[in-house]
């Protein structure tokens, strides 16, 4: 009897805690060291297109989060059942189904935002981050680490989107989340919104500045 209890305890010790050091790293790494946008340079096109306003960026990040969690979780659960010869097609079907569901839900409940995001929700399918994480991580890992990895990567993606959108909306239209932040008196003095910030090239430049700042702080990332 006592040996059985001891064995059980041993078993529990051997079992990895939910937030072990390795698991925590799955979440924190994509925020900085292996950020999908600034380090791996994935998902750039949506980062350019929908960072004009913070609100759009947040909704887009949440949509990517939902799609990424859903699809990596499903592939991770099915990982031992998916025939390897058709795995890319299976991944694509799972991601596409998730994206269509998200798009339909947005259209039904947050119509104005879904109209602004327009085609970009549909284009989440082609977001390299999602296929990348499924192929590189969740096909070979258990559901829980896959879930953490998905949360981490979606957060890393969302972080960049929101930071870029913050500067673009503030400098480009003087607003944040749609509210006028720069008072009218500034404009009377001759302050003008920077129209260039609204256009896609400035997103690239803001991302570039972010990478510059990030690499000057995190010297690990500097290639020889």
């Amino acid at each position: 009897m006592s040996t059985a209890v001891a064995e059980e305890v041993k078993e529990e010790v051997k079992k990895e805690p939910l937030f072990s050091k390795k698991n925590k790293k799955l979440i924190t790494d994509p925020l900085d060291d292996s950020n999908p946008i600034t380090v791996q340079v994935l998902g750039i096109c949506s980062a350019l297109a929908i960072t004009v306003q913070v609100k759009q960026a947040v909704v887009m990040s949440l949509s990517v989060l939902v799609v990424l969690i859903g699809s990596t979780f499903i592939t991770s659960v099915l990982r031992n059942m998916i025939p390897s010869r058709v795995r890319i097609i299976v991944q694509l079907v799972i991601v596409a189904a998730m994206v269509i569901l998200v798009d339909q839900v947005l259209k039904a409940f947050v119509y104005d935002v879904s109209k602004q995001l327009s085609v970009f929700v549909g284009l989440i399918i082609t977001n390299c981050i999602i296929m990348g994480r499924i192929e590189a991580f969740s096909l070979a890992n258990k559901p829980w680490p896959s879930f953490l990895d998905a949360v981490g990567n979606a957060a890393g993606y969302g972080l960049i989107l929101i930071v870029v959108a913050f500067f673009r909306e503030l400098l480009g239209s003087g607003k944040l989340w749609g509210f006028q932040l720069i008072p009218q008196s500034f404009y009377d003095f001759g302050y003008a919104n920077n129209g260039l910030m609204i256009l896609p090239p400035m997103a690239l430049i803001v991302v570039g500045v972010y990478i510059w700042v990030q690499r000057s702080k995190n010297t690990k990332l500097i290639e020889a």
Binding site: N80, V90, A97, Q104, K107, Y111
Partner: protein, 291 residues
Amino acid sequence: MDINSNKYTFIFSTVMVVVVGSLLAIAAVGLKPFQSENVKREKMQNILSSVGITVTAEEAGDKFNQYITDQIIINGNGEVKETDLKAFDVDVLKDYKSGMSNIYSANKDDEAAMRKALMSFGKGGANFPLFVYSGDDGSKKYIVPMVGKGLWGPIWGYVAINSDGNTVAGATFDHKTETPGLGAEIKEGWFSEPFIGKKLFDENGNYVSVSVVKGGAPEDDMHGVDAISGGTITSNGVSEMVYRTLKIYEPYFKSLNNSVAKVEEPEVEIPVSDSLTTDSLVVDTLNNQIN
């Protein structure tokens, strides 16, 4: 079981397609009512905003029923058409795409031929919706939906005409994919507000419409508003859309205008209307006061 065998691969793929397919079908059908409700509300919001009433999506339905008191359908000849169809249910963008744009471009300079073609368009001729707005003060405005071509895709809008059938009471425009900061500006108030007060007809009663003027319209121009610099093709698209659509409604607006004109200069057979008597009474009393 060998998960890499052909048999397993086929079974797996089949099951996956069936499961995913039915899941998406259920979601699409289940969410459809919410989605079409949103589209309807947005249309109501747009119609109301053309007469200067801004409403939230939630109250759009109530306000629409309160202010839009009548919905009329006009045929290709500009006459009121007797039909069970509701003006609200006419999808002008769909009609435009499904062949009406060809009628317009083929008969650009021949009005009679264009009207003839429109009368035989689709089932029972083309439908042109018209919304009648009745304000709190009893004023009436006629709201015309319209569709046209921008630079990259369709543009559309609503133009409201006062009850004289001549003065523009308001306008709102929108677009699908015009360039942000350039053509997309047609959506903004600074572009659509100057339409207010412009006239469709000149002093002689000839149809002129309201057009955008490159380089800015002179202030006393009753038929022009400022174009968007850098957005010439979209601006011209708006001009063309307004001109072409209102041209079809022209006979209807003229009939509104004529009924007003008839009261102003009564013929012998027509009994003097109430409004005229009151008007002349007012003039008389004014004259007396001056004397």
